[in-house]
């Protein structure tokens, strides 16, 4: 996918739409969208990947975290039009051939989730975090997930899970 694919506005009778091409989890999507359509709504309601969640209005909770051109971002604070030409990874794209990613497995083994609502956001943030810092200390993990809120777990098991995943990923 070209990096600087120029975006063209599509004139319609009713409203201005923009034609975007986005690669999500290895699949190319093309849609005509309003400029104001939030990326998280594009992912959930247009593409149909509902694993990415919305938990707040003010970019605080991180439940909407996805990987955007290699960086973890809050998809509620981006417009879908910004994703034209981008490569996005969501929670649904993490396991390959039905096999769980080590981070997913670590969350499962360490009871790092309860209601599960914040979990995709944490897992994607952990995914980015461990790419950046494959051998984090506990404080670095806590700082690394400080943009994600969890109401159920008290964070302790999430930190443990990320530690375990880090170890496993390093050994690969």
């Amino acid at each position: 996918m070209e990096k600087n694919t120029p975006i063209k506005p599509v004139e319609t009778q009713q409203k201005q739409l923009y034609h975007i091409k986005v690669n999500i989890n290895g699949v190319d999507y093309e849609h005509d969208v309003e400029a104001r359509l939030l990326l998280v709504h594009y992912i959930r309601d247009v593409v149909g990947l509902t694993g990415t969640h919305i938990g707040c209005d003010t970019s605080n909770c991180g439940a909407c975290t996805v990987i955007f051109n290699g960086k973890s971002v809050k998809s509620c604070t981006m417009f879908a039009v910004q994703a034209n030409g981008a490569k996005i990874l969501t929670i649904e794209g993490l396991s390959k051939n039905g096999e769980l990613h080590p981070i997913q497995r670590a969350f499962w083994e360490n009871h790092a989730l309860q209601c599960g609502y914040c979990t995709p956001g944490f897992i994607m943030q952990a995914y980015w975090l461990l790419k950046e810092n494959p051998n984090p200390k506990e404080e670095e993990i806590r700082k690394g997930i400080s943009g994600n809120l969890c109401r159920c777990t008290g964070y302790q098991n999430i930190v443990k899970a990320i530690m375990q995943a880090a170890k496993e990923l390093r050994s690969k």
């Binding site: 009713q14 309003e34 104001r36 359509l37 709504h41 959930r44 309601d45 990947l49 509902t50 694993g51 990415t52 969640h53 919305i54 938990g55 707040c56 209005d57 003010t58 605080n60 909770c61 439940a63 969501t90 929670i91 649904e92 993490l94 396991s95 769980l100 997913q104 969350f107 499962w108 083994e109 009871h111 989730l113 309860q114 209601c115 599960g116 609502y117 914040c118 979990t119 995709p120 897992i123 506990e138 993990i141 806590r142 700082k143 997930i145 400080s146 943009g147 994600n148 809120l149 969890c150 109401r151 159920c152 777990t153 008290g154 964070y155 302790q156 098991n157 999430i158 930190v159």
Partner: protein, 782 residues
């Protein structure tokens, strides 16, 4: 292959595979074909008369289907009821609260109009096009202000904005106070919180006009209760409504109530004959979904100088918000007052509670629901007494504890604590925190001018709601038994249908563990179904830490009924007497001739074939139980917290946090720990960071997650947890429930630690939240 010793094992959760892969189904993920979207125009004013509403511009917008206001539902929707009209004298005054107001709004964020559109973006745009003329009225947000004669009145027929005055008299408090060597008085604030489940509320309603069937997906903690109450508001037969709670992203009490908008969305679906969807945003969740706590308490404690606590007098002003939410009246009264003797042999307790209406969001159960408010009060007063008497707070607790050999123990408020060993959890916690060493470090630190404090909180709480006679006696509308159907299929697989409605607590796993253990089968062969009124005959939902004791208890009894029947079938199949059979590892075998046996699966199949059944026995292998517990359960424990205070800024640094909890037998210790962790995080959050703030005009200042300071992984410390096991004697499994204990214990543990750090300066109490400025102010003048 059959696996035993599942009960008590740290089994990985069956819920997780879908949740860690983004394949969970939350209400916001559900969009039936042709679904319309509802957005609510909400009142910016906390108290105002509605003079006019003009929706013509909105209706003319492309994609807008309809607008509903109070006039449109008049005579069609009944008021939103409260489910717990507590018995008081004079009787409780219940305000009439409709899903959309006709003439008056009473809290900021109250929905005033519902816009229905083809998509959410259009609906949101349409809100801006609705013109509402308000006549603002004076507001009152504080409950002590609201009861005054001069206060603005929310409802003309509720004088002094007082819905009820509730009293509890336990023991002889007057003679207790006469005997006292000292009486300590304190005013305490247990401030308002916003429960903040990460998933806000959502409702999808789909109506079939040909069959008059309404299907709803709701983020509820109690689908059957929702169905019952919605049928009442809509005037629609209960058995034509199906409520489904799919995956629900946390509730903490705020998803128990039936809200007006829930019924309204259903009404709109019926009117328009198209599916309708509403998803709260966070601001709406904060403005209009139930808040928690908000008590102002006046306490008097009477004690002897040897440390024995003789009695407690409490007057509490409970802020109920602008209308009575589903469980609201019982939370600051029964769930609070009954526990005011705590873990101690306090012979007399008097409690008077004013339930006050104000121009704020409704207040209902929030993790702990009444018990954190009680435990905070008691544990703070115990520490204040210790300070006054210059006694070690651990020693003072030991002097007053109900002793381990005195259970079951009837406390002066009339309830019977089922079992306990408070001394043991205290001892263990002190050991784990290295108490003596910490006291030494504290002394050293003090000498260097540093501020280190140690706080203890020994709690007991009432949960496993609950015995129907007892709760009905409090005015609760229904019993609090629980139902379970355990169905063994011809293939030997099992499905468990529970009337509880977990939303993160892991009972799909824990309940499977109970049954797998009982039947000697693999946990993979057991499926647990919950949250669908069409699949489950009846249920009272998940809250009050009842899912495992009451829900699990029902399952345990049903499972036993099945084994009883299975044994009879097996005996018949093997042509022996029942007494000659043993059952182990999923197999019935003849004692003394173990090679002669039949597996559980073989019995299951036989039960559906029929010819090997004893005469007169019905085919099939399933059992339904409605388990009405004989008592509540009383988990207990001790938490100890060590803090250091930054003298210059007032910030609190948690150095150590130890929790020793006893919830009876543990089905899955990993899940128990998780509940404790999450509970502690919320209790610490109340102690230090979180605060729902209204200004005097009723504007909610903390209506976003930027403003409401819910802590992150950087604020919440790591915990050292341990447990003791003191089974509940009356519960079929010996379990007690543990969902709320962490929250109940941790707030006072933290506050006791901070006060302890400053006690040498003569400080004995600081109101929560312990914002750094509050502490800084105290230190400034010393």
């Amino acid at each position: 292959m059959a696996v035993t010793a599942i009960f008590g094992a740290r089994v990985k959760r069956k819920e997780d595979p879908r949740l860690i892969t983004g394949k969970g189904t939350y209400v916001a993920d559900i969009t039936p074909l042709g679904c319309l979207y509802v957005a609510f125009l909400r009142s910016p004013h906390a108290h105002a008369r509605i003079k006019s509403i003009n929706a013509s511009k909105a209706l003319s917008m492309k994609g807008v289907i309809a607008v509903y206001i109070g006039q449109d539902i008049k005579g069609k929707l009944n008021p939103v009821p409260t489910g717990w009209p507590i018995a008081t004298d004079p009787p409780i005054k219940i305000p009439k609260y409709y899903p959309l107001p006709l003439d008056k709004v009473r809290f900021q964020g109250e929905p005033v109009a519902a816009v229905v559109a083809e998509n959410y973006y259009i609906a949101r745009d349409a809100l801006d096009a609705i013109e509402v003329e308000y006549e603002p009225l004076p507001t009152v947000v504080n409950q002590e202000e609201a009861v005054k004669e001069s206060a603005p009145l929310l409802y003309d027929d509720i004088p002094n904005n007082t819905s009820f005055v509730w009293e509890l008299k336990g023991g002889d408090v007057d003679s207790a106070f006469k005997e006292a060597d000292l009486i300590i008085e304190k005013r305490m604030v247990n401030h308002r919180l916003q429960p903040t489940p990460m998933e806000s509320r959502a409702v999808v309603a789909q109506y079939n006009s040909a069959t008059n069937e309404l299907t709803m997906w709701i983020t509820t903690q109690a689908p059957h209760i929702h169905r019952l109450l919605i049928s009442g508001i809509l005037n629609m037969p209960e058995n034509k409504i199906r409520v489904i709670a799919p995956d629900v992203g946390g509730g903490f009490g705020s998803k128990i109530p039936t809200y007006g908008v829930d019924a309204l969305v259903a009404f709109i679906a019926k009117e328009l004959k198209r599916p309708v969807k509403f998803v709260e945003d966070r601001r709406e969740n904060y403005l209009a979904t139930a808040h928690g706590r908000d008590h102002i308490q006046y306490v008097q404690l009477a004690a002897k100088k040897d440390g024995r606590i003789l009695g407690l007098k409490v007057t509490s002003y409970a802020n109920l918000g602008a209308y009575l939410s589903t469980a609201a009246p019982g939370v600051p009264t029964y769930l609070f007052g009954l526990m005011l003797s705590g873990a101690y042999k306090i012979k007399a307790v008097n409690c008077k509670v004013y339930g006050v209406l104000t121009n704020t969001a409704p207040v209902d159960a929030y993790r702990g629901a009444g018990r954190p408010e009680a435990t905070y009060l008691v544990e703070r007063m115990v520490d204040i007494l210790a300070q006054r008497l210059k006694m070690d707070p651990a020693e003072l607790r030991k002097i007053n504890f109900i002793k381990h050999d005195e259970f079951p123990y009837v406390v002066c408020t009339g309830i019977q604590y089922d079992s306990g060993n408070y001394e043991r959890t205290l001892e263990k916690a002190l050991q784990l925190v290295e108490y003596k060493k910490m006291r030494g470090e504290q002394a050293k630190a003090r000498a260097e001018g540093k501020l280190i404090g140690i706080g203890i909180s020994s709690y007991v709480e009432i949960c496993g709601l609950g015995p129907s006679r007892a709760v009905r006696g409090t005015g609760f509308s229904l019993g609090l038994y629980e139902s379970a159907t355990v169905r063994v299929h011809p293939s030997g697989k099992v499905t468990v249908y529970t009337g509880t409605s977990p939303h993160g607590q892991g009972e799909e796993t824990a309940f499977a563990q109970i049954v797998a253990e009982e039947f000697g089968i693999s946990i993979d062969d057991v499926e647990v179904v919950h949250g669908d009124t069409a699949m489950i005959p009846w249920g009272m939902g998940t809250y009050g830490s009842r899912t495992v004791p009451v829900g699990g208890g029902a399952i345990a009894i049903a499972a036993k009924k099945i084994i009883e029947k299975a044994k009879k079938i097996a005996a018949n199949m093997l042509e022996v007497k029942e007494e000659d059979l043993a059952f182990e590892k999923g197999r019935f075998y003849v004692k003394g001739a173990p090679s002669r046996g039949v597996s559980f699966q073989e019995v299951a199949l036989a039960s559906y074939q029929g010819e090997q059944l004893p005469a007169g026995m019905e085919p099939g292998l399933e059992a339904t139980t409605f388990y009405d517990p004989e008592n509540f359960t009383f988990p207990f424990g001790t938490h100890v917290c060590v803090v250091e205070i930054d003298k210059d800024t007032g910030q609190i640094n948690i150095l150590k946090y130890v929790a020793v909890d006893d919830c009876g037998r543990q089905i899955n210790p990993m899940i128990v720990e998780g509940q404790v962790h999450g509970g502690i995080a919320q209790g610490l959050a109340q102690a230090i960071w979180e605060e729902a703030v209204y200004d005097n005009s009723g504007n909610l200042i903390t209506a976003t997650l930027q403003d409401y300071a819910m802590p992150t992984a950087m604020e919440i410390p790591s915990f050292i947890t341990d447990s003791t096991v003191t089974p509940s004697p009356h519960n079929p499994l010996g379990v007690k429930g543990v969902g709320e204990t962490g929250t109940i214990a941790s707030t006072p543990a933290l506050v006791n630690a901070v006060v302890d750090a400053l006690s040498h300066m003569g400080i004995d109490h600081i109101d929560i939240p312990l914002k750094p400025e509050r502490i800084w102010k105290l230190l400034k003048n010393r």
